[in-house]
């Protein structure tokens, strides 16, 4: 007997098994039980392709009728249960007793479980992901530093495609244990634009200009109402925040267009967007700082600027 047959015998714990296993091949070689073998082979070579075609069809049909995610789940359920059914049928055809096998499967399962804790954890996490549905196929999610579109939620992992077209595989266990942000869960999103204007500007006027820019942008929603918040006094500018809503499909377009439109309009209206600067002030009691323009190196020599202290 081969090592595999010895293992099966030990697992089956059936004194009849050695004869059943070895005897089966002897009978097939002698032309007996050939029909069973043929049926078993037909089950495998016809059953599996038919099953895969059926799984593809159900995945497409459910996906069109409900959602991509549900289609994927339905297809996988059909495929896995069909494979198990074919496997059991093949064993039955070959004359294996199933009850002892189930017992053996339990023992083997315990052994495999210890060896594959991580994989089992990923599988169980996958079930939780499917049941809880924090996101679906085609959603955009952020897991840690990675943002991408969900390609599939599989048995062991979730596959993402990042915006720069990289393929990312994240184990299900990682997702269950991490904070996951589903960017596209809700149909509308708010865009917050931080705008700093010079201290000399009139806040009410700036607010009116910002809201007018938003009103003219076709992607900005009139409701929820756009708002301008006065966030405080910065080191170099008055800090305003423009909050405007868009559908998730138009979010990026709105962001890009609004940034340009705000800048263009500020230029038209003469509203200054300051860059950070420092004012050196020594108080009224002192004289103004002396300022001397130094010519570039190689130009007219107007004295040594490092030693001339006369200003």
């Amino acid at each position: 007997m081969t090592a595999l047959e010895l293992l099966l015998v030990a697992a089956l714990q059936d004194p009849v098994a050695p004869e059943t296993v070895t005897g089966f091949w002897e009978r097939v070689a002698g032309g007996e039980d050939l029909g069973a073998l043929i049926r078993a082979l037909l089950l495998v070579f016809l059953g599996i392709p038919v099953l895969m075609a059926a799984a593809r069809w159900i995945r497409r049909w459910v996906g069109e009728k409900y959602s991509l995610q549900q289609g994927m789940v339905a297809g996988k359920l059909l495929l896995y249960s069909g494979v198990i059914l074919i496997f059991v049928s093949v064993l039955h055809q070959l004359g294996f007793k199933l009850t002892p096998l189930l017992g053996a499967a339990g023992i083997v399962g315990i052994a495999l479980g210890f060896a594959s804790q991580t994989s089992v954890s990923n599988v169980i996490s996958g079930f939780f992901l499917i049941a809880e549905r924090p996101f679906e196929v085609d959603d955009i999610v952020q897991v840690g530093e990675t943002i991408g579109r969900v390609l599939s939620i599989d048995t062991l992992s979730v596959k993402l495609r990042t915006f720069d077209n990289r393929f990312v595989r994240i184990p299900n266990e990682t997702i269950v244990k991490s904070q996951v942000t589903t960017v596209t869960r809700f149909p509308i999103r708010r865009l917050d634009l931080n705008v700093g204007v010079a201290y000399k500007e009139n806040v009410e006027r700036v607010r009116d200009v910002l809201l007018d820019v938003v009103e003219k942008n076709p992607r900005a929603l009139m409701e929820p109402q756009p708002m301008v918040f006065f966030d405080g006094y910065g080191d170099s500018a008055l800090l305003l925040r423009l909050a405007v809503w868009a559908t998730r499909e138009n979010f990026i377009i709105l962001k890009n267009s609004l940034l340009e439109e705000v800048k263009a309009r500020f230029d038209e209206e003469g509203i200054e967007i300051p860059f950070p600067h420092r004012t050196l002030y020594t108080g009224l009691a002192t004289d103004p700082f002396p300022v001397r323009v130094v010519p570039p190196t190689g130009g007219t020599n107007d004295g040594d600027s490092r030693t001339d202290r006369n200003g």
Binding site: F186, P187, I188, R190, E215, P218, R219, A220, L221, M222, E223, P224, Q225, P226, M227, A243, V244, W245, T247
Partner: protein
């Protein structure tokens, strides 16, 4: 939306830009539709269409003013035609989404009171290619005569994208206000609840409305009756299916985009406080 041919008498009644236009080959045909200007031409087996703002900056526009050739910055859309056709039909259509009406001044409807208001809805221009064989015309493009802003009808987690239309919600429609690019739509608001109905904003599902033309060539939407039953319930919305009584001798000119058999219930009234911009409620 169905593109079934308009009855010839309905077609002949349409005033303004609507109807059949023969396109020149050597220059563009300029057609004013409200504040928009369309340019069309037929050239080398193609129909070409461009659109732009009819009001050039700094230009005082008189009725009938048109720019024969479009500015350089417009973009042309082109369609290769089956048999080198050189005529197009311009047909009116109601907007392709629900319109959220925002009365300029909110008003209250007392319990058991009714009010009839008129809303002028900007029309879309359907550019169609008539079929010589008599079949349904081919739709080339749909262009809004007036660009309306987008808005959201619903809450932060679900809803629909709609158009935003400020309106005076007149109690009487004066004929001189019925311009060719606008459809006058009567709304019969009924308050069957025990509380006041404050009309600040309402959702007008124009996709279910037909367009009618009266004997003066003015366009009307069919009457919509909205029955309010309280804040906890959706309102009952019913379309009459026929021209409003004010439209003398009206005949149907355009079928609805989404026909309905009878009325339906929908969240129609809403109060401005429900969706503040901060995102904290709803």
């Amino acid at each position: 939306m169905s593109s079934s041919p308009i009855a010839s008498d309905a077609l002949s009644r349409l005033a303004g830009p609507w109807g059949r236009h023969a396109l020149p080959a050597d220059h563009s045909l300029a057609i004013r539709v409200g504040p928009r200007e369309l340019w069309l031409r037929a050239a080398e087996g193609e129909i070409q269409v461009a659109e732009g703002d009819a009001l050039a900056p700094g230009t005082a526009v008189r009725p009938g003013d048109q720019r024969p050739e479009p500015p350089d910055e417009v973009e042309w859309s082109r369609w290769a035609t089956p048999q080198g056709e050189t005529e197009v039909d311009l047909r009116p259509a109601l907007p392709d989404r629900t319109v959220v009406l925002k009365p300029e001044r909110a008003f209250r409807l007392l319990p058991r009171a009714e009010a009839r208001v008129y809303v002028r809805v900007p029309l879309w221009v359907r550019i169609e290619l008539p079929q010589a064989s008599g079949g349904d015309p081919l739709l080339l493009d749909e262009i809004p005569s007036l660009a309306m802003s987008d808005t959201w009808w619903g809450d932060f987690m679900e809803g629909e994208l709609t158009y935003w239309l400020p309106t005076t919600a007149r109690r009487r429609m004066r004929p001189e206000l019925q311009l060719p690019h606008l459809a006058a739509c009567p709304l019969q608001l009924v308050n069957r609840s025990s509380e006041d109905l404050r009309v600040e904003k309402l959702s007008f599902r124009v996709a279910h409305l037909s367009l009618f033309v009266d004997d003066a060539g003015r366009l009307w939407g069919e009457e919509t009756r909205v029955t309010y039953r309280g804040e906890a319930e959706s309102s009952q919305v019913e379309m009459s299916g026929s021209a409003p009584a004010e439209a003398d001798g009206a005949i149907r000119v355009v079928p609805p985009r989404s026909p309905i058999v009878k009325g339906f219930r929908a969240r129609t009234f809403d109060r401005l406080r429900v969706l503040p911009g901060m995102g904290g409620q709803g």
